[in-house]
Every structure is written in C-alpha cells, then in structure tokens.
Amino acid sequence: MTKEQAKKNIENFLKLQESYYSDESEKMIEEIYNEIKRKKNVK
C-alpha cells in the first residue's frame, strides 16, 4: 500500500468512525473508562 493510499484509507476510516462514535453511548463508555482509571489511581 502506498503512503497516499494509507493516508486516504485512514481519513476515510476516521470519517466512518467519527460520524457514529461521538454520541451519547460513546460518552458513556468514555465515562466508564475514566471512572475505572480514577478508581485505579485511588487504590
């Protein structure tokens, strides 16, 4: 795969991801992860 092709693929892939993973449920997952990390730090 050429660098140009890799760049195009990355950009397209991110477009597909972004259009669906910045919503409420994604925030929920993010919050859960943050909480897990916070608990770990407390320990």
Partner: protein, 435 residues
C-alpha cells in the same frame, strides 16, 4: 452542501412521508403512496451516502444501476422474505437486508410488499410506527454498508476486526449468524447507529436515546454460542464472549479449513494470519505493531486527538492478537522474542496488555450492570445482579404487573420472563438445551 444542510432536507422529506402515512393508509395500487415511499427512501439513502463524505457514487434516478453506483438500492417485489424465512427456519419477516457477496458490488434489498403491508394498517399510531420502522431499517442496513467499508480500509482497530471476524464466521459457519442474530455484534452496532441517526432526523426522542445505550452495551458484552463435537464425538454447545468464540472459529477456518477467499472477505485478518493459512508468530505481530505505531506517531495530516485515537485503536487490536499468540507460544519462540525485543520491553508490553484487558473487563461488567438494572413501569427500581444470587422468585413476584421494563425497554410478561431467563442463563453459562 454541508451535513447540516443535507440533514435539513432529510428532515423535511421524512416529515412529509410520516405525515402522509399517519393520515392515509395505503390502498392497493395507490401510485402516489408508492412513489412517496420509494422517493423518500431513495432520497434518505442518497443523503446519508453523501453525509459519509467518501465521494460514493449513487444515482437517485437509477438506484438499481450497480454498474455505475458504488452501492445499489433494490426494491424487491417478491422473494426477499421467502428467502429469509427459509434461512432462519421460521416465519421471520423483515424490511430488508444488506447483501454483499464480496465479489460483486454490495446492495441493500428492501421488500416492497412487506413495506406496503405495514402501511395498510387501520390504526394510525401503528401505521406511523411502521412507517418509522421502515426508515429505521433503511438506516440499519446502511450501517452494515459502513461496517463493510470499515473492514476494507484495513486500519487496525478492534471494531474493524470484530466486524471482519463476524462477517467471516457468518459466511462460513453454517447457521452461526441465524443462531446468534440477537447478540450479533454487527446487528447491535447497526441498531445503535440507526437509533442515533433516527434521533437526529426525527429530533430528540427518549426511547431512541435509551435504545442507543442498550445496543452499545450489548455490542460490548454479548456472548455467542455454537454447536460442536467434543473429543468423544458428543455434540456440545459452546458459549463465550463474542471475541473468544469468533477468534476460535476464525482460527479454525483459516488454519484448519484453509478457506481460500476468507482474506477477500476479511482482509484485516492478514494482520493476524499469513496468506499461507498459518498464524503469524509473536515476533512478527510485535514487529508489525511497532512499525505501525511508529508510522501512526509520525502522521502529520491529522489533529493530535485523532492520531491518539488511531494509536489507541491499533494497540487494542494488536494486544488481542499478541495475547492469542502467547496462548500457544513455545519455549523456543518465547526465547526468540526475548532475544529480539529484550526482556524489559516484553515485560512492559505484557503489563500494558494486562492493564488494557482489565479496563475492558471492568467496562464490560459495568455495562452489564447498566443493562440489567431492572425497574417496573411505576418506577420502583429493582437492581438485579444476576451473578450474585438474587432469587428468581423475587423477579417472578414483580412480574405480576402487566408491563415490565428492562433498561428502558417495555416487555409483556412472557417476553420479559424470556429475556430475564435468557440473561440469567447466559450469565451462568447455562447452554440452551439445559435451560
């Protein structure tokens, strides 16, 4: 045109369509109604393709023109649901499906007769729901197309790997898809994204916002099952988290069955396997991960947060693969890995992997708890920790009510009990035959 502008057009089209079918039921051969339905679906389809901003070709005037379109939209007058019913072995009927044989171009098939049937209903509320369901289904099927595209770009990510493995297993393991339909990662993901889009098009709606969360939870926590033979040739049911099951089955398909076109269907699998149907060694995978991370860290055409997301996605996927290679590593291979990368680097890598897996496991447990927090419609909250011995009886007493709510979904008594039983059995790994 911007996404917002397209969304405005979409909203107007959808509003017109929903209002029409709220006020008018479909009468046989009403060309105005048929044309409104087909035009709305085709327009939404086109606008959503444009919203992906990938330069995909689709001619609204010729949705069937697979030669010139990147994806086709087929309105079938017969055959779709007969085929589905045969496939699932029941009377299942559905609006349509995403079809891709991985040789020709993909297309979305919608059963026009079934769509119109739902719009013939007398009750206007039910008719409106059916009209909404048609739209939801189109968005759901479009998400399958996006999943398919995500698997084609070969960008390292756990999600893309999950979709690829699901597609591979669904294609080659008889009845796997049918038997795991409700838990299927690709289906839950498609429902989640359709819920989100649906909300955006129709405006805020509590139901779909909650549905969104539930599907996300299911995507991350669901279990798969399949039938196999044990060492004595006795049939057994195997149940496990979706990744465990699909990893095992994909390994079987690649290394044992040597399925020729499996890498056409799921090219990202070449990050885990070689084209000669062998598994990549630990050294190979670690080397590939390192060079990929090196490449990603030097990217200069993306903002930092996007770059970090790519790096995180890539690591997550490679950690899964490395873990699996460790499971069957020989002493000689391990020594080779240590010689190649140094003991400290490998210990550091293993620690990072353990951290990542622990976080993921905790996230899954948290999601399971969120999903299975049960409350009655009247608002009495009854938290249920399935694995911690809450009695079944307690649930039955509460189920004397008429309607039950499980994480924002309402069920009738029978369905509710089925769902609860299913949850409990899965949590305790009780297979279907012994329930």
């Amino acid at each position: 045109m911007t996404i917002e502008e397209r969304r405005e057009i979409e909203k107007k089209e959808v509003k017109k369509y929903l209002e029409y079918f709220k006020n008018n039921k479909y009468e046989e051969n009403n060309k105005e109604a048929i044309s409104l339905l087909l035009n709305t679906l085709t327009k939404v389809f086109k606008l959503e393709l444009d919203n992906m901003e990938l330069g995909l070709k689709f001619n609204e005037e010729k949705p069937y023109d697979i030669e010139n379109n990147d994806i086709g939209l087929y309105f079938l007058s017969q055959g779709y649901n007969e085929k589905e019913a045969k496939r699932f072995g029941d009377n299942r009927r559905q609006v349509g499906g995403f079809v891709c044989d991985f040789e020709g171009k993909p297309h979305i098939d919608l059963d026009i007769n079934y769509l119109l049937e739902g719009l013939k209903v007398e009750d206007e509320d039910i008719r409106l729901e059916n009209a909404q369901h048609i739209l939801f289904s189109l968005l759901h099927e479009m998400r399958h197309y996006k999943q398919y595209l995500m698997t084609r770009y070969c960008i390292s990510s756990r999600e893309a790997m999950t979709f690829s493995k699901d597609y591979a297993v669904n294609c080659f393991i008889n009845k796997f898809y049918e038997n795991n339909y409700k838990d299927s990662a690709i289906e839950n993901d498609a429902n989640e994204s359709a819920s989100k889009l649906f909300q955006e098009i129709l405006g805020e709606d509590d139901f779909f916002s909650q549905a969104n969360t539930l599907y996300k939870s299911k995507f991350n926590t669901s279990k798969y099952r399949y039938s196999a033979l044990d060492e004595n040739g006795k049939p057994i049911n195997v149940i496990g988290y979706k990744e465990e099951i699909t990893d095992h089955l994909v390994e079987f398909l690649v290394c044992k069955e040597k399925i020729k076109n499996i890498f056409d269907i799921a090219p990202i699998l070449l990050k885990e396997y070689n084209e000669d149907f062998t598994r990549k060694t630990t050294s190979e995978v670690i080397s590939n991960m390192k060079s990929e991370l090196n490449f990603l860290s030097r990217i200069d055409f993306l903002e930092e947060d996007k770059k970090q997301k790519l790096i995180r996605d890539s690591k997550e996927m490679y950690y899964d693969i490395i873990f699996r290679t460790f499971e069957c590593i020989t002493e000689e291979e391990y020594d080779k890995v240590i010689r190649e990368f140094g003991e400290n680097e490998i210990i550091e890598l293993i620690e990072e992997m353990i951290d990542s897996f622990e976080e993921r496991r905790e996230m899954q447990l948290d999601l399971i708890n969120k999903m299975f927090r049960i409350r009655t419609k009247t608002g009495n909250i009854i938290p249920v920790e399935f694995a911690s011995g809450k009695s079944y009886k307690e649930l039955l007493i509460d189920s004397e009510q008429e309607k039950y709510q499980l994480e924002d979904f309402y069920y009738g008594k029978e369905d509710f009990l089925y769902v609860i039983k299913d949850c409990i059995c899965r949590d305790m790994d009780i297979d279907e035959q012994n329930r």
